[in-house]
């Protein structure tokens, strides 16, 4: 038929994405910076709170920093491992496991803990 344009793959614009719903779509990347930052803030807050009871003249009853950091580290890793089994959250899983390992790497060996046990 004259004048009618038949749309075929050859005359589609080259930059037009061809959607194929059977193909897995890329997962959204989990916010690494935000998750790590929240973990850092928790450590800083706990570190700041550590000496408050003693400064106020009351008996210190907060758990030792090494125990707190160990808990924080394992909470991140366990949560990450759980998310690892949920395909939709695989990206978040790696971020949480990474944060847990990073907490273990930073939390100990600084003055906060090393100082308490080896001085």
């Amino acid at each position: 038929m004259p004048g009618k344009t038949i749309s075929t793959p050859s005359n589609l614009p080259m930059n037009e994405p061809l959607l194929d719903e059977s193909e897995p779509q890329p997962q959204p990347v989990a916010p690494l910076g935000k998750v790590v930052l929240v973990n850092f803030l928790i450590i800083l807050l706990y570190s700041a709170l550590q000496n408050l009871p003693a400064n106020w003249g009351i008996k210190q009853h907060l758990m030792p920093p090494f125990l707190f950091i160990l808990l924080q580290m394992f909470a991140n890793i366990v949560l990450g491992v759980v998310f690892l089994f949920l395909p939709k959250y695989r990206s978040l899983a790696s971020v949480l496991i990474f944060s847990g390992v990073l907490i273990g790497l930073i939390g100990y060996g600084t003055c906060m803990v090393g100082y308490l046990f080896f001085s």
Binding site: L32, N51, S91, G104, G109, T110
Partner: protein, 242 residues
Amino acid sequence: MYPFDFHIGAAKLSGHLMFEMLSYTLGYRLYVWQRARSRDLISDDGRMWIFLGAALGAFLGSHILGVLEHPDYLKHFNIQVWMGQKTIIGGLLGGLIGVELTKKQIGVRTSSGDLMTYPLIFALALGRIGCHLAGLTDGTHGKPSSLPWAVDFGDGIPRHPVNLYEVAFLLLLAGILYWREKQDALSNGMRFKIFMIAYLSWRFLLEFIKPVWLVPGLGLSSIQLAIIAGWGYYFWDWRRYK
């Protein structure tokens, strides 16, 4: 003055901890900024798994070498001793192993370290300021010295401020690398290799002015032996691609 802490009202924050967190945070921001301005051949997801491999390797490497640096602690070995010790050299070499194993697993063949080089240098320099502020408690101070810039960390003995030497070296290394790349682009992976070899060599020399435990019969510290292994890896790598 040492160890230096930040005081906010009745609360106290360790200067070392603050600088260490700042180093990771700002180092990561620098990496993100650099990556946005370069063509990275590795996907976001691939980068995340490489980060994870690096962190796991660094975690194991830094603590294993940290404990070996003080073999006396092995007599009372427990989780607190294990977690309380760490070294940057162990972290870098362990991280290197972790990254290489992860890349093999996820099928990444291109170099991943170039984008990490300047952030690592920046983070190391900031972290070392934290170590300096920690004074004697950190265990990274130098041997006693009569030089005019020697620092008294509170025990009345002036010592080499080795952490500040390291900050100066890192800034110089970053400057030389930047200048060299302005002259002519380095091949893929070369920036990271230059950084690693230069830093390992610097640390090898620096160990001689630190009060460290020496392996009997060798006269070298555990860190120096690990550095020799690191040199061996890069020599093998150079022979492989020669």
